[in-house]
């Protein structure tokens, strides 16, 4: 398996996704066995986070440390020369000479592609605005596959901000590669899927149902993927305040759901999942966050060609 850059989930074919799911499974076994893995010893990962992150950045750094490699980077644009007006291309051309692989998060949509066009070492997109977040998708798929033992013939509810939510864009594209899935898009009209993305998914034969009613939809679901209404993506604060808190998954809501439903969330959450349900065995979002480590170990080892 060869992967030069990982910018979009479209960079992977279905068999590549299967490969990474298997590879992450082996990494998970290694992590659980507490054995030390040093397959990336001597390699340097640069994490360039122009936007805030907890899970993505730390799980990449954790993954690299677990593989025996080292990490350099910055956690916000203010501590880099970007605050002085340096371009993405110039930043990347500089950092590529300091590192063997670069993970970048940037608020502008398409920024990861700009980075890849200007870089000789592998670039991994850790989120480019509301566009894509492909590594999150891989760990989401890993979580679904672990819990449901399949990625096909599922009814998946995507709930919340489907317009700006990059995680749902990438996840929906990936799930449309697998047969027999139905996606129920639960969002107010203003936050439904962008037309282009919806059309691409429908073109694969995946059934899409759009609704704004979570209460009615929840009983049909195998997977409920909840996202935060993202304040930072709204131009108008008034519009954000109007839509914020529109969906809340709480004990009462889960009473209507299947016993084998799984509730996922890319985190951070604000008020869309009430902490009172955190101990419900159907709520798997913290486990999902942990699965970021084995999946990112798999990605780093493959892209650095450090596989054993």
């Amino acid at each position: 398996m060869e992967l030069k850059h990982f910018i979009s989930i479209n960079d992977l074919k279905k068999e590549d996704i299967d490969f990474f799911l298997k590879k992450a499974g082996s990494m998970l076994e290694l992590l659980e066995s507490k054995k030390s893995v040093n397959i990336c010893r001597g390699k340097i990962l640069a994490t360039l986070f122009f936007e805030a992150s907890t899970r993505t950045r730390l799980s990449f750094e954790c993954a690299m440390h677990r593989l025996g490699g080292s990490v350099i980077g910055f956690a916000d644009a203010g501590s880099s020369s970007v605050s002085k007006g340096e371009s993405i291309a110039d930043t990347i051309r500089t950092v590529e000479s300091y590192s063997d692989i670069i993970v970048m998060r940037n608020p502008f949509e398409g920024a990861a592609k700009v980075a890849a066009n200007n870089c000789s070492v592998p670039i991994i997109n850790a989120g480019d605005g509301g566009h894509e977040h492909p590594t999150q998708t891989l760990l989401d798929l890993f979580t679904i596959n672990k819990k449901k033992k399949s990625l096909s013939n599922l009814t998946i509810g995507l709930c919340g901000d489907l317009k700006f939510g990059r995680t749902v864009h990438s996840l929906a594209k990936a799930l449309s590669e697998f047969k027999g899935n139905t996606m129920i898009c639960i969002a107010p009209h203003e936050l439904q899927f962008p037309e282009g993305i919806r059309k691409k998914i429908e073109d694969t034969g995946t059934k899409i149902i759009q609704t704004d009613n979570l209460k009615k939809a929840i009983a049909r679901l195998d997977v409920l993927y909840v996202t935060r209404i993202q304040k930072e993506r709204f131009v108008s604060e008034k519009e954000y305040l109007r839509l914020k808190g529109i969906y809340v998954v709480d004990r009462k809501m889960l009473e209507k759901a299947n016993k084998d439903l799984i509730v996922m969330h890319p985190l951070p959450r604000v008020d869309e999942i009430n902490p009172e349900v955190d101990r419900d065995s159907r709520c798997v979002y913290f486990q999902q966050a942990f699965y970021g480590v084995p999946m990112r170990m798999a990605l780093l080892s493959v892209m650095l060609k450090c596989e054993k």
């Binding site: 949509e109 700009v114 037309e195």
Partner: protein, 149 residues
């Protein structure tokens, strides 16, 4: 009532240059705006003239001007049915319908304010995903929009 008979006056032919025919009605000025280095050339513009094929059309004749690739691509986006006639020594040496490119560079602006092309000093790139109407998809942020010229 007096009957008014209108006779179409023939505009003069050009010796060397380009005749862009079958331009979408009322789009000639848009086409002129994308042509470069024509400030000192003789230009004849017909707007909303009769067309056997399309009912109405615009037409432009430009002396000493041959279209560059970028101009050709922009013309194809503005008016996908336009034809280009090359005139040399007063004779037409070629006539072809414009072909809309599948991918364009450096033309237009992405209408997504969060797109990286609007925030960095760089060329835009689009895939042409439909010709009538002309719909472009940004190669960076993947947002789609109809090309308005």
């Amino acid at each position: 009532m007096r009957k008014i008979v209108m006779e179409e006056k023939k505009v003069r032919n050009i010796i060397d240059g380009t005749v862009i025919d079958h331009i979408k009605p009322n789009c000639a000025m848009k086409v002129l705006s994308v042509l470069r280095d024509i400030d000192h050339e003789c230009i004849i513009v017909c707007i909303n003239t009769d067309s056997k094929k399309h009912g109405r059309k615009d037409l432009i004749k430009i002396e000493n001007k041959f279209l560059e690739e970028q101009e050709y691509n922009e013309l194809a986006l503005i008016s996908p049915d336009a034809t280009i006639n090359i005139i040399k020594n007063g004779k037409r040496v070629s006539k072809e319908k414009v072909k809309t490119p599948k991918h364009i560079k450096g033309i237009g602006k992405c209408n997504n304010p969060r797109c990286v092309t609007n925030c960095q000093n760089m060329e835009t790139e689009f895939d042409v995903i439909s010709i009538k109407p002309t719909v472009l998809r940004c190669s960076y942020c993947e947002s789609t929009a109809e090309y308005k010229g």
